[in-house]
């Protein structure tokens, strides 16, 4: 593992400091809300990136893991009064087990085949939850109001605690991603992404490492799901398990730069505010203009900047140094 340069350390430190102080300076609730969404989708993007960007398994069913996380903790809270922090871990475990159960039979699928299989998986899960009486089917789950405290994972008077919680979640995801990317496992992932056969010939256990990638990714996505449930306090299959969410995660990662640690965060920081603000300015008339722009943007990015924006930055940085 390489040592960090002083420049890297100072840039990271300053960015962190700015993010920590940001909500104390800019106090508009709506801006804070958008920042929370940026961090949450950034985290989901990082999770997607571990299996998609590094191990080459393009998942279009990530919302299923997000939803399973949200549902597990909420169900435990409502039915058994289990603390949501325990629900957070439980949701991650359930999602990881589900991921392994679906990932194992799909372990030989590549490229488009894998992508379509994940769409099918995501749709099955959504339809299932839409009809499952135990979790209120299509009605969804409303989380009961309790006293605000860190232990209860619930805050009414301010969004600030949510801001710091999701920021630390994002940092955890980034640290995990960084260590995965720079460990032996990360090299195995990339070898598998380039070619199953070559990786296998070099002695990499392809099935095993693909499963690990999927499970890490599912666990982190489920964590974000629990956060979403505790933040919005209401979930239903149509809000946490939609195909559109899965697609948005792919876009975020691609726009920022798939297969780079920071890429998805950059992608979320660009795409989420655009999506939110166009929705506010143009979406209220129900004319679809906001989505029209969104679709146009996706097409534009795929054609002109498919390597992601992070690559652009890195190139500029290299040129300056060289």
């Amino acid at each position: 593992m390489k040592k960090f340069t002083t420049k890297q350390i100072s840039v990271t430190g300053i960015t962190l400091l700015v993010l920590l102080l940001f909500p104390l300076v800019i106090t508009q609730t709506y801006i804070i809300h958008v920042m929370i969404l940026v961090f949450m989708f950034g985290m989901l993007g990082v999770a997607w990136n571990i299996m998609g960007g590094y191990a080459g398994m393009f998942s279009f069913g990530q919302a299923a893991f997000f939803g399973i996380g949200a549902y597990t903790s909420s169900f435990l809270v409502v039915t058994f009064h289990v603390n949501p922090w325990i629900g957070l871990i439980a949701g991650g475990v359930v999602a990881a087990v589900m991921a392994a159960a679906i990932g194992y039979p799909c372990s030989n699928l590549r490229g488009h085949y894998f992508a379509i299989a994940t769409i099918a998986f995501g749709e099955i899960v959504r339809i299932f939850f839409n009809n499952w009486k135990l979790v209120n089917a299509a009605e969804g789950i409303t989380l009961p109001m309790v006293n605000e405290s860190f232990t209860n994972f619930m805050f009414h008077s301010s969004k600030l605690p949510y801001y710091y919680i999701i920021l630390s979640f994002l940092l955890i995801a980034l640290v995990i991603c960084y260590f995965v990317a720079h460990s032996k496992m990360g090299y195995y992932f990339r070898a598998i992404k380039e070619s199953h056969d070559v990786a296998r010939a070099l002695g990499v256990n392809v099935v095993w490492y693909r499963l690990i990638a999927i499970m890490i990714s599912a666990f982190l996505s489920a964590m974000a799901g629990t956060f979403y449930a505790q933040y919005i306090l209401y979930i239903d299959p149509e809000s946490v398990m939609l195909l559109a969410i899965s697609i948005q995660l792919v876009l975020i990662s691609m726009l920022g730069g798939a297969g780079t640690v920071m890429g998805p965060v950059i992608g979320a920081a660009i795409l989420i505010p655009i999506a939110e603000f166009t929705r506010i300015w143009l979406g209220h008339k129900g004319t679809g203009v906001d989505m029209l722009i969104y679709g146009f943007l996706i097409t534009l990015i795929s054609v002109y900047q498919p390597q992601g924006i992070w690559g652009l930055f890195a190139n500029i940085g290299k040129k300056k140094n060289g």
């Binding site: 799909c106 085949y113 792919v250 679809g288 969104y294 679709g295 146009f296 054609v303």
Partner: protein, 286 residues
């Protein structure tokens, strides 16, 4: 009970033929250029709206708007290929997967912008009512659409096997480099296949508009099912997609009949997952 079952089988067959027609265009595009066209369902939607407006404004029966839908979607398909899809063909695979999602969102919301998200229905066409065959009700528009689907599929099959252009498409599908060496202009074949794929789903749209609700998001459901159909039949296999479409239609109605109608699409995706688990290349793929 057997009559009810027979009725379900007939219904399943009729919806299955429709899935086949939607899927053969998708499988053609997929097989030739290895691009997953997520905008396929939205091409279907455009076909349906074309037929709807021709009917509403000019009183043209959907059956007569079939050639117009074919032509319009053919041109649209070629334009989308030329100006967008061809540009990502050499890019990373992720961009190839995502670009058609962008087109899909764009097209469906363009329809919302122009025509609102309302549901519409073509009410009075030549094709109305039901036939009663031995106690089984067969809806006339659905029956005609099924026959149309079979005829269109046969036409495509003959085109691929008998004409020079069709053989060139098949050759490109099998091996792009060799086809190029044999003097086939593969770039032209790409845009032609994209155009034909879109045109076929335009025809499906015209047929579907005779009995199904017409609204901007209609493509979502049919598009997603079409992927399962194509993958089940084997990527790029027209015969495979045709058979798989019928199987999916049957599975959906019989699954809904025996278990619970709200799970019918989950059953379809389940069958798909099990199939690719056992046979990753699909039923008739290689």
């Amino acid at each position: 009970m057997p009559e009810q079952l027979l009725q379900q089988i007939v219904n399943g067959l009729m919806i299955g033929f429709m899935y086949s027609l939607v899927a053969i265009g998708l499988t053609l595009i997929w097989g030739v250029m290895n691009i997953v066209n997520f905008a396929h369902g939205d091409f279907l939607m455009i076909g349906m709206f074309t037929s709807f407006w021709l009917f509403t404004i000019f009183g043209l029966d959907p059956l007569f708007s079939i050639p117009i839908c074919f032509l319009l979607l053919f041109i649209l398909g070629i334009a989308i290929y030329r100006f967008i899809v061809s540009k990502v063909m050499k890019g990373p695979m992720l961009a190839q997967l995502v670009v058609t999602f962008g087109i899909s969102i764009f097209l469906s919301n363009l329809a919302v912008y122009f025509w609102t998200p309302d549901f519409r229905l073509i009410s009075t066409t030549f094709l109305q009512g039901t036939w009663d065959v031995g106690g089984i009700n067969i809806s006339v528009p659905k029956a005609i659409a099924s026959i149309g689907s079979v005829i269109t599929s046969i036409c495509l099959f003959l085109f691929m096997k008998k004409t020079k252009t069709g053989k060139a498409i098949l050759a490109t599908e099998m091996n792009r480099e060799s086809a190029l060496l044999m003097g086939i202009n593969t770039e032209r074949i790409n845009s032609l296949s994209f155009g034909i794929g879109a045109a076929l789903v335009g025809v499906a749209g015209a047929f579907l508009s005779t009995y199904y609700y017409i609204y901007p998001q209609v493509g979502g459901l049919f598009g997603t099912i079409a992927f399962a159909v194509v993958a089940l039949g084997g990527f790029g296999s027209i015969e495979g997609a045709f058979i798989a479409g019928i199987l999916v239609g049957l599975a959906q109605t019989l699954g809904g009949f025996y278990f619970d109608p709200s799970y019918k699409y989950a059953i379809v995706f389940m069958i798909y997952l099990i199939t690719i688990w056992i046979r990753p290349q699909g039923l008739l793929g290689w």
